[in-house]
Symmetry: C2
Subunit: 359 residues, 2 copies
DNA sequence: CGATGATATGGGTACGTACCCGGAATTAAA
DNA sequence: TTTAATTCCGGGTACGTACCCATATCATCG
């Protein structure tokens, strides 16, 4: 018979071992589901763990297993072309990384070219080879993203979607905008700016038609239209898709439209390319048209301030990056529950409050 | 002569000890500034620490010193009277508390009666006696708050202001709204709703006149006025202070004002009591007056939805609580730098986006 | 010069968990 | 029955830091 152990109450694993009258190592095996434990002891130990409602001490755990956690981030390049939009999420990622570095977490960011599926797939491959423990990605290209997440699932690596969602995937969580709702809100903002007989021009500016990004724009457009029908707003909605994202091309198209439809009172641009439109209006001294767009970029702020753009709809890009990393941290290290999606608040940014959204 | 130590590279304190050729305990004394180290060794060890750019391992530290950190929170009671406003910051505090509990931090919340300075002082006293390591407080009453923070400074306890700031204090940080800016933004929102010859009515509803809260309202009012003068808006601004916060009393005053000034087009209420005003307008079927107010309470949302209130200006009350606690955590446990103030974004909440701000 | 006290220093253990390794118990094969 | 293989279990050490306690060193005074 095993000799009676000391009965002074301990805590954690030790206490389990004491109560179940087994060695620490055995408890450890049970907790980690390692083999080498008889059915009998297994149940005994499990019962004690249950009784104690044992919660492992994160600190002790992190110290003992000096395991480093490596997170990978896959987002578009921070380019002039995209108005440096992805700088903000990258900053948020950075901020989170600093905060949890002392817990043994490192974060590596991979970029891809928004106009090149292959660069996305290439970075994805490199991530898969890199042996990462968690992944944060902007699923820009549908097929490539699906292939990637499937591989992650095989390897049992949790991944978080950011900025764009692919529903029905087994992502740990989605963090980003509710596009439809933001368009709906856009509809309301339009209604504040428009006069009874005016027309509204919705502008989608995007190079690719068949990628996820394009669908994003359409979701927003749906939202706007839905607000109009839902609130019985009679103003006519015009619409134009511009696939040549060059500023000159945008300028030309916009001028054409305005010439053709002179009663256009509001232009609603479904992404940050609103800047190109604003630039055009400013250049041609068109000041009877109000403009609403998306994302608070440096350039957009300028047009907000000089009154060319009235509203920008903005969804906390920095916080998206921050929360994405923290979701992985909570899940993998702290064992906290993570909500399966988190829609960012839809911020209305105007000339007067934009300073508070820029950081 | 001390015998030569092993030279295999270690990390952390051990490596310092090895390089400086002293014992671990000595290094420890230096790091914690404890006495019992000769000037010579002190400098030697400090030099090595410098060279290595030594960063203590938080995990090891937390494990060794099983010190528990206790944070105290001092906020107003969550009452019907205040529209349960403080529920949100309390929730944020709770969320942060859960997140850092595994790092050995506990959070205790103390409440006070907004109408009773003594209850504030009483809770403050209890906190001071409680031996807390960090404090988050809403400095509602000027004198009492100053006495409290002074006591904290004496005891070397860091404190964070939330929701209201008292400038020039040695608070670790301030987290809350920029009141003036929010009023300024309010001015812009008014301009969207007002017609050329309309008058604007600013309403301050607050029981106390001389407490911090009252000053808050005045700051917002200043912001509005400043927007009007700055943007050369000619509409007349009317103003009324209501110190009887009872709904009946508010109703009476509002009706009086509207009778006296029938060209009132917009009512701007400087706090969440906007609900009382909305209630009054709704009751008397007054629908030609637009309403702007503060804070997204359950009751306010209702009037937002049925169109009585157009805009609510809102400053992330939940996040204020969350960030406040995290600031203490970053400072005390993680040794991270904390910005000396953090102004919350000024959210514009409308019928269409309010759902995203409620949680 | 020895006793005393203050100052300086090092050894060692503990925190809660992970994991290696050797040995006991059990079972299968000889 | 002995031996080998297998399964099961416990002892012990490590992670990086904090802190107690014992000892060495040194100045001071009787």
């Amino acid at each position: 018979m095993a000799k009676a152990k000391s009965t002074k109450p301990q805590k954690g694993v030790k206490e389990i071992a004491r109560r179940a009258n087994v060695a620490l190592a055995t408890v450890d095996r049970v907790i980690h589901g390692r083999p080498g434990v008889s059915q009998k002891t297994l149940e005994k130990v499990k019962k004690v763990i249950e009784e104690m409602n044992y919660q492992p001490n994160i600190i002790g755990r992190r110290l003992a297993s000096m395991k480093e956690y490596h997170f990978a981030v896959l987002i578009p390049e921070i380019t002039e072309e995209s108005g440096f939009f992805w700088q903000a999420p990258a900053d948020g990622v950075q901020q989170a990384a600093e905060e949890i570095r002392s817990m043994g977490v490192s974060v590596t960011t991979f970029f891809f070219d928004q106009n090149d599926k292959r660069s996305f797939a290439g970075s994805a491959r490199r991530i898969l080879r890199g042996g990462f423990d968690g992944i944060l990605l902007a699923p820009f290209f549908m097929e490539e993203s699906l292939a990637f997440t499937k591989a992650c699932e095989t390897k049992n690596i949790p991944y978080v979607f950011i900025n764009s969602d692919i529903p029905d995937q087994k992502s740990l969580t989605y963090i980003g905008p509710d596009l439809y709702a933001s368009g709906y809100l856009g509809g309301q903002l339009i209604s504040y700016l428009i006069k009874p007989k005016d027309q509204v021009l919705i502008v989608n500016i995007s190079r690719e038609i068949k990628n996820v990004k394009q669908n994003r724009l359409l979701r927003k457009e749906e939202g706007v239209r839905s607000y109009f029908t839902g609130n019985k707003i009679k103003n006519e909605i015009l619409k134009i898709d511009i696939t040549n994202v060059d500023e000159k091309a945008v300028e030309k198209k916009i001028l054409e439209m305005l010439a053709q439809y002179p009663r256009t009172g509001v232009i609603f641009v479904t992404n940050s390319r609103v800047v190109s439109v604003a630039k055009c209006l400013k250049k041609h001294f068109i000041d009877h048209v109000r403009v609403i767009g998306y994302d608070l970029l440096e350039s957009g702020m300028e047009y907000l301030k000089n009154g060319v753009i009235d509203f920008l709809i903005c969804q906390k890009p920095q916080e998206q990056g921050y929360r994405g990393i923290m979701a992985l941290y909570h899940h993998l290290i702290l064992n906290l529950k993570v909500a399966d999606r988190y829609y960012m608040p839809i911020d209305i940014v105007t000339r007067e409050n934009c300073a508070y959204y820029k950081n």
